[in-house]
């Protein structure tokens, strides 16, 4: 424990006994919060991002690059807001993306390989983790959500493509299949059949986001970065709302049930435990 930690404890005004217990509480909260962040980030990604990161032959130059950052920055921003506002802990974005990545890999092995016999090469996930680290670092340096949105969120969107291309480029080497040229990724998708996912379900580079001739990737990355700014602000705001204790209506009632307070604050008759009103 360094001088700064001691200063924080001093300012907090806790007794030595309370300090000991507060560390136990820290450990418990960290564990509970980790599961909460994990579940919320994962479910939100499945709802918003869906198929675009499931399969290697869905990772196109337009929608994959566009959709993955703008769907994951939502929970990154919300958890960043919560932990920054309540505790000045700039770890919300990193924790959200780290736990999402861990959860994604568990699902890849448990469900995709375990249930459907898909090889892992078909279902390697991308990650926005590098962007999340930048988002948290910019928040520390600026101490401002406004600046973090304007710079951090842009970097978050921009970093997704290059930070994943480093290990995914190999999947886009040309290869021949039945006499036609295709990519290794396409070939993997073709070789290992997915009964519920016919080829035409994929949405590969359909749309008008294709200026600058041969480089749709960076056009998508910049557009993604631009959209990330607004999503960051929106979900930062939602995170701030979620910190507000007004949204936990148990307060006095909870206390009265467990004997912490005699007589409920509202005008309803006092509750007996286990009896629904």
């Amino acid at each position: 424990m360094n001088l700064n930690d001691l200063a924080i404890l001093k300012v907090s005004g806790l007794s030595p006994q309370a300090i000991k217990w507060s560390r136990t509480l820290d450990v418990l909260i960290v564990i509970v919060a980790a599961f909460l962040i994990w579940a919320v980030s994962h479910i939100s990604f499945l709802l918003l991002g869906g198929d675009w990161d499931f399969f290697i032959d869905w990772k196109d130059r337009q929608y994959w690059i566009l959709i993955i950052p703008i769907t994951t920055i939502t929970m990154a921003a919300a958890f960043q807001a919560i932990f920054w506002n309540l505790f000045r802990l700039p770890v919300g974005a990193t924790a959200s993306l780290l736990l999402l990545l861990v959860g994604t890999w568990i699902v890849r092995y448990h469900s995709w390989q375990g249930l459907a016999f898909f090889p892992i090469s078909l279902v390697v996930p991308g990650t926005c983790l590098m962007g999340a680290l930048v988002l948290d670092a910019v928040l520390v340096l600026s101490r401002s959500w406004l600046v973090t949105g304007a710079f951090g969120a842009v970097l978050y969107g921009l970093l997704f493509y290059p930070s994943n291309w480093i290990y995914m480029a190999g999947y886009f080497q040309p290869v021949q299949n039945m006499g036609d040229m295709t990519s290794v990724a396409d070939l993997i998708g073709y070789t290992f059949p997915r009964a519920g996912t016919p080829e035409y379900i994929r949405i590969i580079e359909r749309g008008t986001l294709r200026t600058f001739g041969d480089t749709p990737t960076w056009v998508s990355a910049f557009f993604s970065a631009f959209a990330c700014i607004f999503l960051y602000y929106l979900f930062w705001g939602l995170g701030v709302l979620a910190c507000n204790s007004r949204f936990f209506p148990v307060g006095d009632r909870f206390k009265s049930i467990y004997g912490g307070k005699s007589g409920a604050a509202d005008s309803e008759p006092a509750l007996k435990p286990g009896v629904p009103s």
Binding site: P119, L129, I166, E199
Partner: protein, 428 residues
């Protein structure tokens, strides 16, 4: 109960159900069936009619191939509730990737991509070459996925795959000369090492923060206006360092990768088009006068009027619908048309009964009653006419002329279920 609390209760229930669903999914249990009987009868009897389907083998070892090939006819009386086959993809049904796809063709054209603008009323040939990957007993069907109509499953046959999954490999050489030892594992270690590196940075960053006094002390410090203690100069330096490390790693890594993989191609996504198989000029017309399904008797009865427009006498040899083949048992050439490898459960033993089985002479018009009776109507779940928006039935009739030549004709029309023996007696 106040509105607020009711809301809280509901949110609690939602959370509980999500939790239970998550817990329930913890145990991996691969499903055996793949829903071939779940599709509505009007789709299975009136869209894609598979015929002449053969399986090259029913017992293979891991890494050996099995070829499924045959033809399909796209039905003219295609139901309105299903999208027309403007975009389709040839695939197979099996529980997960237990077999791999080596080659697939429609009319001899490579079918890696989807095929567009298939013509209704016409026929196409298909070929699927599958390779055993996971040992087991797998039901292998050809499937035509039709955009908007869903998967339309062809006849399925059991294929035993013996051996060890560990022996399975898919070696590939790229056009740039890189030798890929096994497609199943290609690139996975590279992805995992890099992502583990990213995760390590993330863990270091999180530990840097949570090793300190956390929840209550920091909360109190904020309340007392001492934020300056919570994020220090050192933290600023660490954050700046992290920012630099991330940017350097990503930029350097990206530059290295783009140099290493000089030739890359985007995902390939165009569809292809193919002409249907040549059409023979119609030699027989079939008009459906009446169709009933006898629910207690499990019997489909079709009253048809047949006109022989060819120069040769014709006999009815087979009625085929939803992959079931009802064969006229007294016509040898029709019986011979059932390949010995064809799954027996799709060829009902009672066959097709015909009210007058004598040859229909050239130019003759004759009314016939065809009866296809079998429990398969129930077991294949083909009789849910009452729950369908479209209570029509369809199928293919196969005629054979004197020379043993086969001619196909469509038959379709409304169907009336009959629930009591009494009403059947009235009708006949």
């Amino acid at each position: 109960m106040s509105l607020r609390n009711r809301w809280g209760l509901r949110a609690g229930l939602v959370q509980l159900s999500v939790l239970l669903t998550l817990l329930g999914s913890l145990l991996p249990t691969p499903a055996a069936a793949h829903g071939e009987r779940a599709t509505e009868p009007y789709i299975r009897t009136r869209t894609v009619h598979w015929y002449d389907v053969t399986w090259s083998s029913q017992k293979i070892n891991v890494s050996d191939t099995v070829t499924v090939e045959g033809k399909f006819h796209l039905f003219t009386d295609w139901p309105d509730a299903a999208t027309k086959p403007e975009l389709a993809f040839l695939s197979n049904a099996s529980p997960g990737a237990v077999m791999t796809r080596v080659e697939s063709y429609i009319n001899g054209m490579p079918a890696q991509q989807s095929v567009r603008q298939l013509e209704i009323g016409r026929d196409y040939s298909f070929k699927l070459v599958m390779r055993g990957r996971i040992p087991g007993r797998w039901h292998l069907h050809p499937v035509l996925n039709v955009h908007g109509a869903g998967p339309i499953v062809g006849p399925g046959h059991w294929v035993d795959v013996a051996g060890s999954a560990a022996d399975f490999k898919v070696p590939v050489t790229t056009m740039t000369g890189e030798v890929i030892d096994d497609l199943q594992h290609y690139g996975v270690a590279r992805v995992q090492w890099w992502q583990a590196g990213y995760a390590l940075l993330a863990i270091a960053w999180i530990v840097w923060w949570i090793r300190r006094p956390l929840i209550v002390p920091r909360w109190n410090a904020i309340k007392k206006g001492r934020e300056d203690l919570l994020v220090t100069r050192t933290d600023d330096r660490v954050a700046a360092g992290l920012l630099v490390v991330v940017l350097v790693v990503v930029i350097a890594g990206y530059r290295y990768t783009t140099q290493k993989y000089e030739y890359v191609v985007p995902l390939q996504a165009g569809s292809f088009k193919t002409k249907p198989l040549p059409q023979e000029s119609p030699v027989v017309t079939v008009e459906l006068k009446d169709a009933t399904y006898d629910v207690p008797g499990r019997s489909l009865r079709l009253d048809v009027e047949i006109t022989n427009q060819s120069g040769s006498p014709l006999r009815v040899g087979e009625f085929s619908t939803a992959n079931l083949r009802f064969i006229n048992q007294s016509l040898d050439v029709a019986l011979a048309g059932v390949d010995p490898s064809f799954p027996k459960d799709l060829v009902p033993g009672s066959g097709l009964r015909i009210s007058d089985d004598s040859p229909v002479a050239p130019g003759e018009t004759r009314k016939l009653r065809l009866e296809a009776t079998d429990a398969a109507w129930e077991t294949e779940r083909l009789v849910s006419f009452l729950t369908n928006v479209d209570s029509r039935v369809g199928g293919m009739l196969f005629f054979f002329d004197g020379g043993g030549q086969r001619h196909m004709a469509e038959v379709s029309g409304p169907i009336v279920p009959v629930f009591t023996q009494l009403r059947l007696a009235e009708k006949s």
